[in-house]
Amino acid sequence: MSDTPITYVRDTMLPQQAPPTSEVGPVRWARENLFSSPMNAILTILSLYIVYTVISHVGPWLINGIWDADSLSECREIIAAKGDGHHSAACFGVITARWHQLVFGYYPSELYWRPVLALLVFFVGIAPVLFPSLPRKLFIVSMVAPFLCFWLLWGGSIWLPISIALGFGVGVVAFKLLSVSVSSLVAIIGAILLPLIYWLYLSGPLAAGLASIVPLGIEFVPSRSFGGFMLSIVIGLSAIVISLPLGILLALGRQSDLFIIKTCAVVFIEVIRGVPLIVWLFTAQLLLNYFLPPGSNFDLTLRVIIMVTLFASAYIAEVVRGGLAALPKGQYEGGDSLGLNYWQSMQLIILPQALKISIPGIVNTFIGLFKDTTLVVFIGLFDPLGIASAIRATTEWNGIYWELFLFIGIMFFISCFSMGRYSLYLEKKLQREHR
């Protein structure tokens, strides 16, 4: 064949052709995806069998579910009247009758709008953080949102959150003044100490005074009335929001060159992460009062929030540390060479970038935290599981089990799954942007 000329020129280009029928359509799909090898075929059949078993057991129970019954006995009567087998129907009546407790706990029903509104405010507040394209003015909402949410949830005099917020103002002003007049180191110490003094000695009387002059407020709701998913969300969200600054400080501490500060950060993070949350919750329940001055005594919910916040801050610190480590060293040097000081370069250059990288990790931490709020049931708070127990302790619903767990599980699944998708989307987006 070496004699035949190797020269070849195509004169007509071939058009696209449709693939052979065996290459498209459901047949091919099934062949490729389900039965590509004997092993695969076995697996397919096995999986289908599992799916069938589960559906055939649970399906009827779900479908026959009774939605309108006021008590378990009524529900059982209805099932008996239907003449079906004994356990083949669910009593979802408990959910229709008690859903408001599962969601809001014992929050006064005429005030349900307040937590709902607080959640909305929270979303508006967090929007500029999650979507950088929004106008920066919205950051004002972000700053106000925590105090507004606090006030909406607990109610009471409006002056309390305002006077607490003023403390932050005091800090900022102190920092500005001192950093101009003295040094930035002094300014930072001042910015921490002055608000602390203010909160300890001034803010309480100030709020009381203002309240007595201009009594503005809404009905106070004690935290003991909080329960159900609302409690989980309140604990989870406040812990994440408060733990963020703490976590950032810890992460910076862990990256610091200063031996003592670094050691403290490392010890704190490792101790918190090394001990299970439930032990920390028992600590909040059993021990926190030992550590505070005699006579000081605050709300269990608040104590739990403090503990969960500390817990979350250790995890956030690790997430943020990852973000800091992902930044090239050149960014730090760029800031230095322009003459920015440490806090300026952190605030203007490093943290904005590091936090953006960390958002998916923060969302994941939040998902974990949100799931872990169920543990507060062990110290007698009414999270969804606690409410479920309380419902089962009433005469009407004593003995009901699966339906409540199913409902709670599905609610958690929906919220955690969608947040998980969101963080996945963020990760993908970051990967694209960082190419």
Partner: protein, 317 residues
Amino acid sequence: ATLDDVKARGSLNCGVTTGLVGFAAPDAEGVWEGFDVGVCRAVAAAIFGDPTAVEFVPTTGQTRFTALASGEIDLLARNTTWTMSRDVDLKFEFVGVNYYDGQGFLVPKALGVTSAKELDGATVCIQTGTTTELNLADFFRVNDISYEPVPIETNAEGQQQYLAGACDVYTTDASGLAATRATFENPADHVLLPEIISKEPLGPLVRHGDNEWGDIARWTLNALITAEELGVTSENIEELAATPGNNPEVNRLLGTEGELGAQLGLDADWAKNAIAAGGNYGELFDNNIGENTSIGLARGLNAQWTDGGLIYSPPFR
């Protein structure tokens, strides 16, 4: 002092269970009701004249004592057994007994067991963090028979385990067993064994060291008991208070005679308010756990001493 704190706060913090039918459980509106709850309300009424001035703090068997010791609650009314070590070592003060109980055993009829001594090798569900664990261990050790404990956290859990047959026997205070059995689909299929293996005087308690506060709790409970003994009920109390009769003890109780309220640092009508809050002891019992409720407990030991029971209050004078 605790009384001042409570007054300043405007409400009483009262520790109760996280939910035990008849004794303390929140209803669909989140309003707490039950026998123990009644005691809390009576104390609140005695102090403030308002039975709703109570914050109910749900506690578990594990957390209740710390809550009280740390001052988170002012009064614990959570079917808690009065024992020496709790009184002396844990440093609490029991202000009286509102229910005389004893630890019993609940078994399915089908097992054919008639005595707890036949329970050799049985699996027993117990609530952890209670005296029942210790009693149980003692009972089986003394009788030289073996058992397998299944520790559980809440009554609801225990009930579920027991009904599913994960344990042969459910043991806790007999009152709790009765209450639990009452909610079963077929209560008749289960029997309470005759043995009561312990004395379980249940009562409200406060911290050591604040005797004035302890007195208020103690005498409020006694007022409820005395009221029943003297026939003062929530129905006739207004009438009796408005038109003092010739029974001096009733008059002292209702504040129309003497200074008993002032001695406690309360209003003169403190006891009247306490009784009006949920009725006298007998009324509380009957409305929450008595024979006409789904719990269906008989008075038994908890009848007035005059009826052959142990319920006995020192005199108001």
